[in-house]
C-alpha cells in the first residue's frame, strides 16, 4: 500500500455542509480551492436537513444585545463571549449574502424577510424557508459553489490530516474503492459537522460521525466541551427504524403543544413562562422526566400536537413534517405526533478564535465541528447562522495564509499506510463495533448522567477501541476509518462528562449537587489535547 501525492492547492476545505461550502466560496478568492466531501457535495452535512431557521437581528425592535444575551443564557454562559459577539453581529450580513445569491426564504406580505419565534429567544428573529430552511440554504450555496471555480470532489473520506512541522498542510483521502491520495494545501478548513451518529438515536445524517474532532485531535488540536451534546426534545419514536428523525422545533414555534399520556400539558411544571418554547435542554429533560416517571406513551415518548392549528397553516408552514408523517400513516392535521429526545448537536468541538483559527497553525474550522459558540446548549436557529458567519471567516483566514512549498513527512505517511494495512489483520466486525458503541453511548451518556454509568461507558468504549477492526477489501477502508473516528469522539464525550462535575447546559449530572447556577459556576470549558484533558476554573468564582 502506498499513497500518491495527487493534488496541491491553496485551501483545502473538508466537509460540504453550510459551513464548508461557505468557507470554500470565500477561500477561492485567494487561490485554488478544493472542497472534499464524504458524500455528494451538499447532501452530507446537517445543514441540508435543518428545518427550522436562521437567527438574525433584522428589525429595529430587536437588538444584537438581546440576541447576544439570549444566546449566552441559552448556552448556560459556557459560550465564548467573543464568538457570540461575532455570531450576532454578522448573522444579518450573512443572511443578506444568501439573499444576494438567490435564496428563496419566506417573505412577509410587506416584502420583508419573514421571522418566527424559536425557543429561548425573546424576539421572533428566526428567518426561514418553510420547514426546509437548511435545504434552501444548501441549494443556494451549491449554486454559488457550482458557479465558482472551486474544485468539487465528492465521496472522499479523509483518513488523516498531514503536517509540515506544526502547520497543517493537507490530508490523505480515500475513495469508494479504497484508493488513497495526498492532497497538499497551504491551509485547511475543517467543516465536518457533528457526531450524532455515535448515539443509537439521532437526528443526524449517516455522515454525522465526528471525523473532524478525531482528525484534529490526532493532529494535536485542542477541543473543548465535548460532553455538551444537545438532545433535541422532539425526535420521532416510531417506526423503530426511523427513531430519532428530527421533528423540527418549528412545530412548537408555530404553536404545537406537548402533552403526556395523561393529556397534561406538562411544560407548565418545568418552565411555566416559556412553556414549549423553552430552551432545548429544558424541554428534552422535561420529556425524559415525564417518560421516566411513567407518564409517557407506550413507545416511550410524549405527544406533540398541532391538531388545534388551522389545516392551511400546517400545510403551508410545516409541509415537510406533514409529508414525512403521512408516509408513516399519521396525518398531523388530525393526530398528534409521538416524540422523544434524540441526539442532535455537538456544542463542543475545536477551540477557535473569532477568525476561526484552531490551536494548530494553518488549520481553521467552522460550524458544528467547533466549540464555544453555543456554550452548553445551542438555541434553535443559531447553528445555520453559525455555519455562515464562521464558514466565511474560516474561508477568509485560510485564504490569507501564505503559499509555500510544503514538504510531507514521509514517516507520518508511512504510519497511515501501516495503520491501514493493519486493518486487514483485525478481528472486530465494523458493524458490531458501531452498534455496541451506539448502545453504550445512548444508555450511559445520554440526557441524565452519573459517574458510575460514565465509568462503565468509558470502559466499554476503551474495549471497543482496543479491539482492532477488520476489513477484507480496500472498499471497507473508509468505513473502518470512520468507525475509529466515532470511537475516539465517543471517548472524548465521556471524558468531558466525567470531568465536568456539575450540571450545565445539556450536560446533567444526577449524582452531583451544586450550589451554583450557570452564571456563578466556577467552571469554564473542558479541554482535550494530545491525550490530556481537564476543565478550566474561573478563579473569580471559586
Amino acid at each position: 500500500m502506498s499513497i500518491a501525492e495527487k493534488s496541491d492547492c491553496h485551501v483545502l476545505v473538508i466537509g460540504s455542509g453550510g459551513a464548508g461550502i461557505r468557507a470554500a466560496v470565500e477561500a477561492k478568492n485567494f487561490g485554488d480551492t478544493i472542497i472534499i466531501s464524504k458524500t455528494i457535495t451538499g447532501k452530507g452535512g446537517c445543514t441540508v436537513m435543518a428545518e427550522g431557521g436562521f437567527n438574525a437581528v433584522l428589525k429595529d425592535e430587536d437588538s444584537k444585545k438581546t440576541h447576544f444575551e439570549d444566546t449566552m443564557k441559552g448556552g448556560a454562559y459556557l459560550n465564548d463571549d467573543a464568538l457570540v459577539e461575532t455570531l450576532v453581529s454578522e448573522a444579518p450580513d450573512r443572511i443578506r449574502d444568501l439573499f444576494s445569491w438567490g435564496a428563496v426564504f419566506d417573505m412577509t406580505c410587506e416584502n420583508k424577510i419573514a421571522q418566527r419565534p424559536f425557543g429561548g429567544q425573546r424576539f421572533a428573529r428566526t428567518c426561514y424557508a418553510g420547514d426546509h430552511t437548511g435545504h434552501e440554504m444548501v441549494m443556494t450555496l451549491l449554486e454559488k459553489l457550482r458557479g465558482s471555480d472551486v474544485s468539487i470532489r465528492d465521496e472522499l473520506t479523509v483518513v488523516e490530516l498531514l503536517k509540515d512541522g506544526d502547520k497543517v498542510c493537507g490530508a490523505v483521502t480515500c475513495d469508494r474503492e479504497g484508493n488513497l491520495e495526498i492532497v497538499k494545501a497551504d491551509s485547511v478548513v475543517l467543516a465536518t459537522g457533528g457526531a450524532g451518529q455515535v448515539y443509537d438515536t439521532t437526528t443526524n445524517s449517516t455522515a454525522g460521525t465526528g471525523d473532524g474532532y478525531a482528525l484534529a485531535y490526532r493532529a494535536g488540536a485542542e477541543l473543548i466541551d465535548m460532553e455538551q451534546v444537545q438532545f433535541h426534545p422532539t425526535g420521532a419514536v416510531t417506526p423503530y427504524e426511523s427513531r430519532g428523525r428530527l421533528i423540527t422545533e418549528a412545530v412548537r414555534g408555530e404553536g404545537g403543544i406537548l402533552k403526556n399520556s395523561l393529556g397534561e400539558r406538562f411544560m407548565k411544571k418545568y418552565d411555566p413562562v416559556r412553556m414549549e418554547l423553552s430552551t432545548r435542554d429544558i424541554v428534552a429533560r422535561a420529556i425524559a422526566t415525564e417518560v421516566l416517571e411513567g407518564r409517557g406513551t407506550e413507545h416511550g415518548g410524549v405527544w406533540l400536537d398541532v391538531t388545534h392549528l388551522p389545516r392551511e397553516k400546517i400545510e403551508e408552514r410545516l409541509p415537510v413534517m406533514l409529508n414525512q408523517f403521512m408516509q408513516f400513516g399519521v396525518d398531523i392535521r388530525e393526530q398528534p405526533m409521538e416524540v422523544a429526545p434524540t441526539a442532535h448537536h455537538f456544542m463542543g468541538g475545536l477551540r477557535i478564535t473569532q477568525n476561526a483559527e484552531t490551536t494548530l497553525p494553518n488549520l481553521f474550522a467552522a460550524g458544528e465541528v467547533t466549540g464555544g459558540v453555543h456554550g452548553g446548549n445551542r438555541l434553535g436557529g443559531n447553528a445555520l447562522a453559525d455555519t455562515q458567519v464562521f464558514g466565511r471567516r474560516a474561508g477568509l483566514s485560510a485564504g490569507r495564509c501564505e503559499s509555500y512549498a510544503k514538504s510531507i513527512d514521509a514517516k507520518a505517511v508511512k504510519e497511515i499506510e501501516n495503520k491501514i494495512d493493519a486493518l486487514y489483520k483485525g478481528t472486530a466486525k465494523i458493524s458490531d463495533v458501531r452498534k455496541s458503541m451506539k448502545t453504550v453511548m445512548w444508555n450511559n451518556v445520554g440526557i441524565y448522567r452519573n459517574e458510575l454509568d460514565l465509568l462503565v461507558a468509558e470502559r466499554e468504549i476503551k474495549k471497543l477501541i482496543d479491539s482492532p477492526l477488520r476489513i477484507s477489501s480496500p472498499r471497507e477502508i473508509s468505513d473502518a476509518v470512520i468507525t475509529q473516528n466515532m470511537l475516539l469522539t465517543a471517548k472524548l464525550v465521556i471524558e468531558g462528562a466525567l470531568i465536568r462535575r456539575e450540571s450545565r447546559g445539556a450536560h446533567t449530572r444526577t449524582d452531583i449537587k451544586q450550589s451554583w447556577n450557570n452564571e456563578t459556576s466556577p467552571f469554564g470549558h473542558t479541554f482535550f489535547v494530545r491525550g490530556k484533558c481537564g476543565i478550566e476554573l474561573k478563579e473569580d468564582k471559586l
Binding site: 458524500t39 447532501k43 436537513m49 445569491w101 438567490g102 445524517s205 414525512q324 477489501s473 468505513d479
Partner: protein, 481 residues
Amino acid sequence: MKVTISRFDPACDSEPHFETYEVTAADKARVLNVLDAVRDNIDAALAYRHCCRGGQCGSCAVRVNGEPVLACMQEASDGDVIEPLDLPRIRDLVTDIAPIIANLAWLNGADEVCSFVSHDDVEDMKPLRECIECFSCISSCPAISASEYKGPTIMCQEQRLNLDPRDKSDRIIEAVEKGLFSCTTCHKCVEVCPKGIETPKKAVEKLRAEAAKRGLSLPAHKALAALIEKTGRSVERKEPTFLERVPDVIEPYGEVRATVGFFVGCMFNARVIQPALDAMEVLKINGVRVIIPKDQVCCGSPLIRTGLSGFVPELSRRNIDAFVKAGVDTVLTICAGCGSTLKNDYKTPFRIVDITEFLCEIGYVKPEKVEGVYTYHDPCHLLRGQGISKQPRELLSAVAERFVDMPARCCGAGGGVKSGQPEEAAKIGAVRAEMVKKTGADYIVTVCPFCEFHLHQVTGLPVKNITTLMLEGYNRNTKVL
C-alpha cells in the same frame, strides 16, 4: 424478508446480475434499512448511497420493482427487487450523477448586493425550489434518451431562475438549448418526484409560453396554432366530420339511464372518426342519451402543451358556453388529452368524465368476448392527467379473449413532440414498441387518438379504441341489439 439486489462491479463483471438476500427487518423497515442489513451482515462491499435518512438529501434514490423511490422513505416489502436509477452505473446501486449536476444552471446574480425579491416572487419560485436532486425524474424521463433533452429537474431549475428577479441570464434561450421542446408532458417526472414537483405544468409549459412570445416556438407548433385560431380546430377537414355526421341529440336504445354532453376533440372529429361513432353506439347500448353541441371547438391542449396559449381563453369560453347552453351537468370525453385539459386547465361549471370511468360508474352492459390477445397502453393524459388506470383495464378484461398487461410508458406522441420533433417521437415509440412486442399481443387498446395513431405507426399492429372493441363485443351479442 427476501430481497433481490442488482449487483455490478466493473472490476470483475461485464454485466450486472441479480443476487437475492435473506435479511431480518423490523416492522415498517425502509428499503435503506434492508440495504444496511445486507451490508452489515452479508456483504460489506455493497455500494449504495445514503445520508439523511429522512427524504431530504436525495442521496439514496434507487429503483424498487422498477420505480424510482427514496430508499430511506420507501417501506421495504418481501420480494422487492432493488436496482440503481437508470443512469450510467458506477458500482452496485451507485450511479454517475456528475453529468446531470453539470447541466444544472446556477443563479447569475449581481454579487455583493442584496437584491430585492418580493413575497410574490418567492411564492412563485417556491414550488420549484423543493428539488432535492435525487434525479429520479432523470432516471425515468422517456425523452432524454430519445433527444437532446437534459431532463425535468434541469427545466425546473431554468424556470426557477427565469422567475427570479435577481438572475441576469436569459433562461429561455438556455432552456430551448437544453431541449425545452422535447418534453412530451407525460408527467412521469411528477409521479416519481418525492416532492411532487409539477415540472411539466409549472416549468416546461411556462418556459414554452415565454419562448412562444419571443417567436421561438417550433414551426410545426406555430402552424398548428395558426390553424386553431383560424378554424377553431387543430385538424384540417378532409371529409365530413363527426359533428357534421351526428344529430344534436342521440337517444339510447331503451330506457334513458343517464344524459351527458359529448366533447369530441379534434382528432376524433376529423381524422379518426370511426372510433367516435363507435363510442356513440356503445353509449346508446348502455342507455346514455348524448347531447352534442355543434359549436364546440378545440380544447386548446396542443396550445397549452406547446406554450402558444394566447387563444386558449377564447376556446375555453366557447366550449364552456356551448355545454352550458346545452344544459348538461356532465361532459364526457373519449380523448385522454381533451379530458385532461378540460379537467385540469379549465374551470367548468359541469363535471368532466372520461368514457371508461363513466361506463364503470354507471355499470356497463357486458359485451361478448372478442378473440385475440390484447394489451393496454396507458395514455399519459389518462393515467397521470386524470388518475384513470383501473377502468380501462376492467372494460378490456370484460371484452378481450385474452388481456396481457404491460407497465405504463409514454409512447412519444404527446406535448407537441410528434408534430414538432417527429424523430424523437419515433425513438420513444420504438422503446414502447419493444414493450408491446414482449406482451405477445395481437392488438393494442388505448383511449387516446394521439397514442392510437402513433402506436400504430411504430408497432405496425392494429390499435383499437376501447369503445371500438366493446362495440365488437356487443355486435357478437345479438341479445343486446
